[in-house]
């Protein structure tokens, strides 16, 4: 599936883009990420075991209870995408027998491994000692870790998280996840790590998580303010980095969100918009909600197409892929395993279609957005299959214009800048026309969708 998040400025691109403006929170995040990659690189020297797991349903607090160094393969793939390394990795994986039709995160990961045990930062990336297969909201996860296990013989433990097909979490679903945690996941992690499980240690991490989650939610919801002090998509992928990956539950993550919140409060007081890679946002003309993950191989070019036109993304579903916190869920140290189950069950791609559509409509209303943009990702059926119905339904229910663009996560062959730019320009024109016509909840103009499939 598509997920993820931590972004360290690339180092290997032949044409270096201008240095992005960095604030304290960004520097803190960069330090966290670099430290994590270093911990991974030196884990086996320092007698630490290495775990790998996915972003949705990522049980970071639990893994920390066993002192694992923590790797997230989606994050590695996106890092390689940002550094323009993923194209070759994907083609290497295809030459090794993987179909051109399947997820490019998987192929970038397998291609990276084919090149040797080196991670995105150039430091060694050891083979994991355990794969925690948090099977949450994405079918491909299961095959991904089966593929890694096949190649590298890693111990794998499955945590099957049932899908919210009926739009709710039933007691049966929750009990099933808790039982797996108690009887499968925890005993396996104990055995692999040699560390005994301590539930109070888990509680302590979860207390930290809940604090960070409060500040994350505040940060993302600051976009309700006009002008929005953040970009809830391109900027949010930075903000969700620590909490969706190897840092949730650490005091350093809590501190990151405290600092981030302070910076955004300051921006709001000053009436500023989001920070972009080129500095201050030129001024908010359009407020958008975005559905779907971003493209990583041309991330800055993609973002620039928005801020050059004065567009700000005020909310995105992608910023909820590693946990939906804005409707009240917090990790609960009083009920640790049940809370972990609820967290996994509630990730965005584990929600059914009516829930996803309700959420987008709610965002359009609460964030006073002009319309919806769907970035449909070739690699990610979990997000993408059926998005054209989302587009129609959201337009029908809100009367706000919607548009549809297509790209991929980390396969540069599927990013067509000219096509996307054209479509965005048409869309902004449509938003202007709609404003002129008064808007309102009624059938909208025909959506901007691909001309042919």
């Amino acid at each position: 599936m598509s997920t993820p998040i931590q972004i360290v400025p690339g180092t290997s691109s032949p044409k270096k883009p201008p240095q992005a403006k960095k604030e304290d929170a960004m520097l803190l995040q960069k330090e966290l990420i670099n430290r994590n990659y270093h911990e991974l690189a030196t884990a086996h020297e320092t007698n630490r075991k290495v775990s790998a797991t996915f972003v949705p349903g990522n049980l970071n607090e639990l893994l920390m209870c066993f002192d694992f160094a923590r790797s997230l393969p989606e994050t590695n793939a996106l890092q390689n995408g940002m550094r323009k390394k993923s194209g070759k990795m994907i083609m290497d994986a295809e030459r090794d027998g993987h179909s051109e039709d399947v997820c490019t995160y998987v192929k970038a990961d397998l291609g990276m491994m084919l090149q040797g045990p080196v991670g995105p930062t150039g430091e060694p990336l050891p083979t994991p000692d355990v794969l925690l297969l948090s099977y949450t909201g994405c079918f491909t996860f299961m095959k991904w870790f089966e593929l890694i296990r096949q190649k590298y013989d890693c111990e794998t433990v499955m945590l099957h998280v049932p899908y919210q097909g009926d739009g709710k979490i039933s007691p049966n679903m929750r009990d099933y996840v808790v039982k797996q945690l108690k009887e499968k996941v925890i005993p396996t992690l104990e055995r692999v790590s040699g560390v005994k499980f301590d539930i109070d240690r888990l509680r302590q991490y979860m207390r930290e998580s809940a604090k960070a989650e409060e500040d994350l939610v505040w940060t993302l919801q600051s976009a309700k303010h006009k002008p929005s002090p953040i970009d809830g998509y391109f900027g949010a992928v930075y903000y969700i980095g620590p909490i969706f990956t190897a840092f949730r539950g650490m005091p350093e993550a809590t501190e990151y969100y405290r600092v981030l919140r302070g910076e955004i409060e300051q921006r709001m007081r000053e009436g500023k918009g989001p920070v972009t890679p080129d500095g201050e946002h030129p001024g908010e003309k359009y407020r958008l909600v975005v559905e779907g993950p971003p493209n990583w191989t041309s991330f800055r070019e993609f973002w620039k197409m928005f801020y050059d036109e004065g567009a700000v993304v005020v909310a995105s579903t992608y910023a909820k892929v590693g946990g939906v916190y804005d409707f009240g869920f917090r990790h609960d140290p009083e009920h640790p395993l049940e809370s972990l189950a609820e967290y996994c069950l509630g990730c965005y791609t584990n929600l059914n279609f009516p829930q996803r559509i309700d959420m987008i409509c709610r965002y359009l209303d609460e964030y006073q957005a002009d319309g919806l943009l769907i970035n449909s990702i070739k690699s990610c059926n979990s997000f993408s299959a059926g998005q054209l119905l989302i587009l129609r339904e959201v337009e029908r229910r809100t009367g706000k214009p919607a548009a549809f663009i297509e790209s991929d996560l980390v396969d540069p062959r599927y990013f067509s800048a000219a096509n996307i730019k054209n479509r965005l320009e048409s869309y902004f024109q449509m938003v202007r026309q709609k404003r002129g016509a008064g808007g309102g909840a009624r059938p909208g103009l025909p959506p901007v969708v691909p001309a042919a499939h």
Partner: protein, 388 residues
Amino acid sequence: MNAKEIVARCERLFEDLRFGAVKDWKAAVPGRKAIGYMPIYVPREIIHAAGMLPVGIFGGGDQLEVIQGDAYYQSYICRIPRSTLELGLTGRLDVLDGMLFPSICDVIRNLSGMWQIMFKDKYVKYFDVPQNYDDAIGGEFYVHEMQQLRADLGKLAGREVTDDALRASIAVYNENRKAVRELYAYRAAEPWQAPTSELYLVLRAGCVLPPEEHTALVRAYLAAARAEERPRRDNARVVLTGSFCEQPPLSLIKSIEMSGCYVVDDDFQLIQSWLLDDVPVTGEPLEELSKAFLHRSAATSSKYDEKKEDKGKFLLKQIKERGAEGVVFAAASFCDPALLERPMLQEVLAKHKVPYTAFKYAENTGQMAPIREQAGTFADSIKLWSAA
């Protein structure tokens, strides 16, 4: 009826995208209901025990022009959800009172939610199955899921689905699976007598006929096929795998056979042979169905293999038991489960020195020449190797 007549009847059922057989079944007794299910597996016993007809929906095949369905999907999504939507949007599935969407992949999973939105008057359920195979963990979850389905269908039927009704339905499906197993065993023993293009149609009839009638049909075909005198060819014996969801066109199956392959095992209609032996008709029926699923069911790529050593084990067993000489990987384009699984299975086959070939198709693939050439070359190479 002779084999040709039986197959002709099955082909008429297969080609009828208006589901006349289901309409007839419903019309015979007022108030009857029919529930559709998509691949790979649902416990049809529960639908049957509720007095309803389980109806297999395997896309629109190569005869359906997909117009509206295409408007809902990008070019990189497989064809089965488009053609299934087309069937729904053109009223062809109005005969169904509900649809079950089993846990196959993200596309079918999402289709369940689309169905909830687009066909609001129908019963719609995403049917999750466990990926944990302990009775006390995955089994308990699965029994609850089946209990929920039983309660929902009971409500729809206006009467409780009793344990006795479930046991009776389990017995009916045991008989059906037994007949299907006999058919597969016979096809493997004498593939020239029961070609796969015929076997396939006989199985597809099971998507729309009541199980009792389908069992009789399978047995009638078996008897008729045995009575035929058909030429035996020096074909390569192959297992065909990866076609468990979107189905290849019938002409593709015929092309593989014409190219010099006897298909001696396949996964086209997994639901009919998913449970590998009889489900006990004594005891708690849902628990027995659960145990059969957890411990005695087929392997496929939508199902987790707990251990590395398990990968490919089922395929190797098929090869050994059916006396196959090679494997044809035939997967629908953009089929994540089949295409992600394929390299792992190929690695296992390579280790065991089993030759294989691979291609993709769509349910409306029209050009058979490349597939015929590829399968023909594969069959020739097997024959050359075995002669060496």
